[in-house]
Symmetry: C2
Subunit: 335 residues, 2 copies
């Protein structure tokens, strides 16, 4: 009897704001694993802002999702049938096969994760690409130095909350913004940032001036839009901007920063990056992150939704800066 | 009998577009030089786009001009009375005392220039801060490598025409834009750039696609505005932007680039710079530029106006991308 797997597919490309109609569900029969392959049942899957870009047609930095095919993305699963000795049944593995309950794949395309260190979901977040993104952006792109002041927009999101903590671990003073009061409370009370604010509450530049009267050295940009413009105004000479995400403009275009030319007089550097260029840094990052997580210096907040059926709504909520979305958004599947 | 000197002063700060009314003229009596000082009669003075910023109140990267005082800036003059043995009468010297016929100053504040190598005016342009700006922007900020494709906006201006030539000397393929047909002809016929276009003629991006079907590696930005937006679209992955000037927005605000977030997926780096941070590189630059100028590999085009009275109109013309303004704008004074 074949193994059945529910999967979430891209049904159509959104025009502007995506809706639930852009997704469809299908149940497929999985083949038996061939030699060298494993059958994996996912336990958690990742929901990320960058997925919005892949729903569009045309070239992004990752190829677009294909209509009628399952949404690709990070997932952690458990090997249930193994025909490869390196990944015996019971092993937890990371894949990029995305939004499906189960799959059969070559063992060589998967990476085992050590669940004695942290729960499986942490490998999608703080110990995964999410954490690495924050680490690379702060240390390699923006070249954070001890004692500098860092502003992180989208600070309560997955990458943002990692960036706030990593900046503090490296001696930074941290200002962070979010889109709701519960998120601001999370930044202030759990992440212990130095100044937290709701970017919808007044002018972001007023907050930056209040939180950093002498200006900021680094802006870790998850949003683009008005917060980027405010950051350009608040940056000190020789400031750096790590351009990581532009969620403000993912669904609808936003104006460009009218004050970009301040970069000349202030000798600012703005640099875009994507984490897939930096996967070679993962061991160096984990060497720092795993002990920090164990000792409690690094925390990881996750927002769970249950069942694959809930994945599309979770993505829409994320793109709306929904109140539910603090930290890493994870879809949890029954084991 | 005291020496008289005519000078051009800032009379008032412009609101938007500057006019001739923002300038005034005055004749002052110069003191006799004290020991260690020299009396210098200027032979040429520099007219530069960055002066527009200094006409405003408030902090720019250089202090604002003071109302009622002479416009500061680069000038080359000849020592006529010397009380310092290092700068005997007849020596040509460079100063930043600006728009005045003559001045008395400490010899230590001046720099002798070698007029056997090039005419005095060249030290305001291709062998001066203008040339250094282009060289630093291309080689140190944008890190031009042999074989790369470079787009220079404002290519017929002083810095732009230096950038076009230096890029070609370093093995670059050069696209350049200008604001009039005579300037485009200059780019094409005299500077021999690979593709020259009038940015007012159609969509700049169409020109960039035509001149560089595989995209550009570097954008040397003298303008900001729509050309920056077009360049962001045309840049290849890992492209670099040297933010040097924003003449498009000096008099009136222009919208920011709506597509700045392309910098993430394309891993672009945008970096602002000002040449005064890099004056230590002048010897290295001149070691390359002087032989190139002598051998004819580097040319310098100048636009002269005669007499200090003509200086304000020359600056206004420059800011209007006036047709007269090809290459370096110089005010020539009678010897």
């Amino acid at each position: 009897m074949p193994t059945k797997s529910l999967e979430v597919r891209l049904a159509s490309r959104p025009q502007g704001e995506p809706t639930l109609d852009n997704f469809s569900f299908a149940t497929v029969d999985l083949p038996d694993p061939e030699p060298g392959e494993v059958l994996v049942r996912n336990v958690c899957i990742s929901v990320d802002p960058y997925m919005r870009g892949r729903m569009n047609e045309g070239k992004s930095y990752v190829p677009p999702f294909q209509i009628g095919q399952a949404m690709e993305g990070g997932a952690i699963g458990k090997v249930v049938v193994s025909r490869n000795e390196k990944l015996p049944a019971g092993t937890f593995v990371q894949s990029i096969y995305g939004w499906r309950e189960a799959y059969v794949a070559p063992a060589a395309s998967l990476k085992a994760v050590d669940t004695s260190v942290a729960p499986p979901s942490a490998y999608l977040g703080i110990l995964g690409v999410t954490g690495l993104t924050a680490w690379v952006g702060l240390l390699q792109i923006a070249r954070l130095k001890h004692g500098e002041t860092v502003f992180v927009s989208g600070g309560a999101g997955a990458v943002g909350s990692a960036a706030c903590q990593i900046a503090k671990m490296h001696g930074g003073k941290v200002l962070a913004s979010a889109s709701s009061e519960p998120k601001v409370a999370f930044l202030r009370d759990e992440l212990k940032v130095d100044y937290a604010f709701n970017y919808r509450d007044g002018d972001p530049l007023d907050h930056l001036k209040k939180g950093a009267p002498d200006g900021i050295h680094i802006y870790f940009d998850n949003t683009g839009g008005p917060q980027l413009e405010a950051a350009l105004a608040a940056l000190r000479s020789y400031g750096r901007v790590a351009l990581c995400g532009g969620i403000a403009g993912y669904n609808t275009p936003v104006p460009g920063p009218r004050n970009l030319m301040l970069a000349i007089g202030k000798r600012l550097r703005l640099e875009g990056f994507i984490v897939s260029d930096h996967v070679g840094e993962m061991p160096a990052f984990l060497a720092e992150a795993i002990p920090a997580l164990k000792s409690g210096k690094l925390t990881h907040r996750e927002s769970f939704v249950d069942g694959l059926e809930a994945a599309p709504a979770a993505l829409l909520d994320l793109l709306h800066s929904g109140a539910a979305n603090i930290g890493k958004m994870i879809v949890r599947l029954p084991e």
